[in-house]
Symmetry: C2
Subunit: 137 residues, 2 copies
DNA sequence: TATGAAAGACTAACTAA
DNA sequence: TTAGTTAGTCTTTCATA
């Protein structure tokens, strides 16, 4: 990871479809180098995946979840990552243990996810915040 | 937005570099149709952007920020979105007003961001949670 | 929806550090 | 031995009918 890698990543974060030739010109190197660097970062999991961000549903929310002390948080997290409309599942420090970032069609969709979370035996508390606006870094 | 759009999106979410020809085969239509659909979704902002998810920094965190009542939250959010290492800025409901999702090289990097946030006049409180693990939905 | 043209990405051989 | 470059080839996308 050097400055060249970081420069390439910054361009890809804004638009992952920027041609290698264009990136090369911007960062001052050859197309081949950019390609090699991207491949290497992809293999090394510096780049996790190429993806699209969507604004399909119009209601995004953070659902913060507390779980019982004696359960395996990771396996619950893994299960929740499979739920439709869930974008991220984070295990976090702080009062709650898991944060779901969800993107639902409407508030009813968010509510169904909260209900679904509460129905899990391991879940002892939930706290939801609507994401009113999002800006990308 | 119909089922065809949704199918295409699901493929792009997992790998945004899947060729149109391959997507077409998988969803049972032609390359041109896929291309037109993707272009349309891109124009309509159903697709926000093509991007890469990275695991560069090893410390991710949520920095929850409370701001004074009489200030323009949106403009602060916009400013913070420009900070390096910030992935998302969300305006949220709940006790705090803004959530930064950051991806820093180490805990010092996170700490610098917290400090930077506190230095803003409008900021009255911060609360940070480390993201210990992330799973993608 | 097909087809040819253009753009982009990939292969592999080569060069330099 | 590793990273970078380059030319030629192949794949994907794009525009046209």
């Amino acid at each position: 990871m050097d400055d060249l890698d970081r420069n390439i990543l910054n361009i890809l974060r804004r638009d992952a479809r920027t041609p290698y030739t264009e990136i090369a010109e911007e960062v001052g190197t050859s197309e081949g180098t950019v390609r090699n660097r991207v491949e290497r970062m992809n293999d090394d999991d510096v780049i996790e995946r190429f993806t699209v961000t969507t604004r399909t549903g119009n209601v995004k929310a953070m659902i913060e979840i507390g779980v019982a002390v004696d359960v395996d948080t990771a396996s619950i997290a893994e299960r929740m990552a499979e739920w439709a409309e869930v974008d991220f599942v984070w295990q976090v420090s702080g009062e709650q243990d898991i944060v779901l970032v969800v993107d639902a069609a409407d508030t009813r969709g968010v509510n169904e996810l909260i209900t679904q979370a509460r129905e899990q035996e391991e879940v002892v508390s939930t706290k939801t915040r609507l994401i009113l606006d999002e800006k990308l870094g």
